[in-house]
């Protein structure tokens, strides 16, 4: 068996047995170009008051979250939930296509999305959300649209919660008991 044929055979046969029933999300869902568009979308969808660094961080965390997503992974089995449940399908499956559509819509307005003025960017985003029939921010990214998923990821995450409350609650951290009686510090 030639080497190439071997890997083809491996890919088609063995992996179906050794890969767990969950699988990591395809990082390729967002291309290099798409990543640039996503960052520009963050500037429209997420609070500008996060500042450039804050928007960079939020965008990077979102893409990392997508990359490490395991569709089909088992969920918690606490009592009251007799059926074993699995993490839902990869929400990023259509992100690349949606990001390209954003760029296509921007191109129709005469510039890459990142170069459009704020009003034009907003119009593109709203049109995309309308087209995808998105009316709300889901509690977890659900794949309907990359923009609503980005909003969901941020606002339902630890940083977003802190942003909404204006306080450093830091629920994702282990914070110790020492200062727990104090009011959470205001966000700087």
């Amino acid at each position: 068996m030639q080497r190439r044929s071997f890997f083809k055979w491996i890919g088609s046969s063995v992996l179906t047995f050794i890969v767990p029933r969950w699988a990591f999300a395809q990082a390729g869902a967002i291309t290099t170009e798409g990543a640039g568009t996503l960052r520009a979308l963050s500037g429209v969808a997420l609070p500008a008051s996060l500042g450039g660094a804050g928007l960079d961080t939020a965008t990077t965390q979102f893409t990392t979250w997508i990359r490490n997503y395991k569709a089909g992974a088992e969920m918690s089995t606490g009592y009251g939930f007799p059926r074993v449940q699995a993490v839902g399908p990869d929400p990023s499956a259509r992100y690349a296509e949606q990001l390209r559509a954003i760029e296509a819509a921007a191109a129709a307005k005469g510039a890459p999305f990142a170069k459009l003025d704020a009003a034009a960017q907003r119009a593109v985003v709203e049109a995309a959300l309308d087209q995808a029939n998105v009316d709300g921010i889901p509690p977890r990214p659900d794949g309907k649209h990359v923009v609503s998923d980005l909003l969901s990821f941020f606002f339902y995450g630890s940083d977003g919660q802190d942003f909404l409350y204006g306080a450093a609650i830091r629920r994702d951290r282990c914070r110790g008991l020492g200062n727990s009686g104090e009011r959470p510090a205001p966000l700087r």
Binding site: L46, G78, Y79, G176, G181
Partner: protein, 525 residues
């Protein structure tokens, strides 16, 4: 068939099993103890921070592989089947029951009394608190007097809980921090100080008591043998005597190699579902209804407590998730005057986040983007939020039961359990008054700080389930005595949750453990 011979064979490896094995090993050094568990050992403490991270980010099971695919049941069950049992997931709350729980019949003419005196149980509560490492503060009610102090000072109230305690106390109902089996003193029992990670479902620092710690220690000291992934399918009786001589099982990865455990004493410590199930599965021609079941009550009187919850909006500076598993409790309603309509419940308060979701569109349909999302949410979420809940005492009917369901079988062909909860007539008759009372208590709380009840919901299942092998003095009306020894088989014990006649009106784990520790004394003797 492989044979393992020991002095004691414990079936199941949850929290009751861990406490029993630990105490037996202390009382009887040299006693050979086999612990047999159908699920696997998840001893990888070093991975728990990563599991926590993935639970928070993706909702994944923080105890991967803690269940057996085809070992399920119909009804409300915990799917967790692993070394540590449901207490792998527990929040660590360690409330005691009260004297009234043990004297329902003699005080109120309801259901049944427990075959144990409060003062005796209280000493085992103290022991349970010591072994589990409980942090707590004394109750302000005289009826809750303790013979020993808590092993560790109470978990400090975080900022939000301090605001909520002030709010709760204004109603004239005194609240305190709920006792927790979490270290507020570094090094207690070798565990770390609580780091307030907020994910007690999996404690990444090991500050919360977890049965796997006890099993690891017993194993390292060679005090027990632990056979995980081994499903006990039958208990086998002596040919002529009413004693159990063996537990027969199969390793899940080596189904062609059945294994038999022989012991002088057998203890079923398999929780409220699988204990009754095993006894029913072990029917013989001499005991056609299952072992320990001459009363016909194995699997009967399955219990738990009902609950009602509300979300309350109030003028208090409350932040969510500061220490989300920690809450406040009032024991004011644990007692009920005997000349008043019967209602007993605990009362709990937790910090909560705003019920308002972030919106993508305003009411006119205009999109909200960027800072607009946050400012819209803040404009609707200026007040604090509390979650309040009452677990209330309900009593099971005999038909509240676990039965074998021949239409559903595991891969070994054994019928799986079916659980149905039903309440007795007296409980049903007072249900409306009970709910009205609790609603009035919630409203009494809400009257302070311009509180407003946002939502109220009734639990659709009985929480902290127990029962199925209830204890009692009359062999015709119970499965085992107060030590868990079955009336029918002198060397067969049942410990923990299944033995409870009722589930009280607050979390049950501390009581399961206290009763098990009392059983350990008898088993050791």
């Amino acid at each position: 068939m492989a044979v393992v011979e020991t002095d004691v064979c414990i079936v199941g490896a949850g929290i009751s099993s861990a406490m029993l094995a630990q105490k037996l090993a202390e009382l009887h050094p040299g006693l050979s103890i086999a612990v047999v568990e159908a699920g696997r050992s998840i001893f990888d403490v070093e991975n728990r921070m990563r599991y926590r991270d993935r639970m928070m980010k993706y909702g994944e099971n923080p105890w991967p592989g803690d269940y057996i695919e085809d070992q399920s049941a119909t009804g409300i069950v915990s799917r967790t089947m692993a070394v540590g049992g449901s207490a792998l997931h527990w929040g660590g709350t360690c409330n005691r029951f009260s004297k009234e729980d043990l004297r329902l019949k003699s005080m109120y003419g309801l259901y049944t009394d427990w075959p144990i005196e409060w003062n005796e149980l209280e000493t085992f509560y103290c022991e349970a608190e010591r072994r589990l490492g409980v942090s707590g503060e004394p109750s302000p009610f005289a009826g809750d007097e303790r013979s020993q102090a808590y092993p560790m000072p109470s978990m400090p109230l975080d900022y939000s809980l301090r605001q909520l305690k002030t709010w709760g106390d204004k109603s004239g109902i005194p609240f305190q921090g709920a006792p927790q089996s979490k270290n507020t003193v570094a090094g207690y029992d070798g565990r770390s100080l609580c780091m307030r990670c907020g994910t007690c479902d999996i404690c990444p620092t090991g500050a919360k008591y977890s049965p796997d710690f006890t099993f690891k220690k017993l194993l390292s000291e060679k005090k027990i043998v632990l056979h995980d992934q081994t499903l006990i399918r039958r208990l086998v009786l002596h040919d002529t005597k009413p004693i159990v001589v063996a537990a027969q099982g199969v390793h899940r990865d080596r189904p062609q190699e059945p294994i038999e455990y022989r012991a002088r004493t057998f203890v079923v410590a398999s929780g409220y579902t699988w204990s009754s199930h095993l006894l029913l599965l072990s029917a013989t021609s001499r005991f056609p209804n299952g072992l320990a079941n001459s009363s016909g009550l194995v699997g009967k009187y399955m219990n738990g407590h009902a609950f009602i919850s509300s979300m309350v909006e109030l003028n208090a500076d409350v932040f969510p998730d500061m220490n989300p598993q920690m809450g406040l409790i009032s024991r004011q309603f644990f007692r009920c005057a005997t000349d008043r309509p019967y209602v007993r419940h605990d009362l709990r308060i937790w910090e909560a986040g705003s019920r308002n979701a972030v919106r993508l569109k305003d009411p006119s349909g205009r999109f909200l983007l960027g800072d607009e999302v946050a400012s819209d949410w803040r404009s609707r979420s200026k007040r604090g939020t509390a979650r309040v809940r009452a677990y209330y005492d309900v009593h099971p009917a005999e038909s509240s039961q676990l039965t074998l369901d021949p239409s559903k079988r595991n891969k070994w062909g054994d019928p799986l359990p079916k659980i149905e909860h039903h309440l007795d007539t007296a409980t049903q008759n007072r249900a409306a008054a009970t709910k009205q009372h609790i609603q009035e208590v919630f409203e009494r709380l809400a009257r302070n700080d311009e509180g407003r009840i946002l939502t109220t919901s009734e639990g659709r299942y009985l929480d902290h389930p127990a029962g199925g092998c209830r204890m009692g003095t009359d062999p015709a009306a119970s499965v085992c005595d107060s030590f868990g020894r079955t009336h029918d088989h002198e060397n067969l014990f049942v410990v923990g949750a299944p033995t409870l006649p009722t589930a009280g009106c607050t979390n049950g784990t501390l009581t399961f453990v206290a009763l098990t520790l009392r059983s350990a004394d008898r088993i050791a003797s």
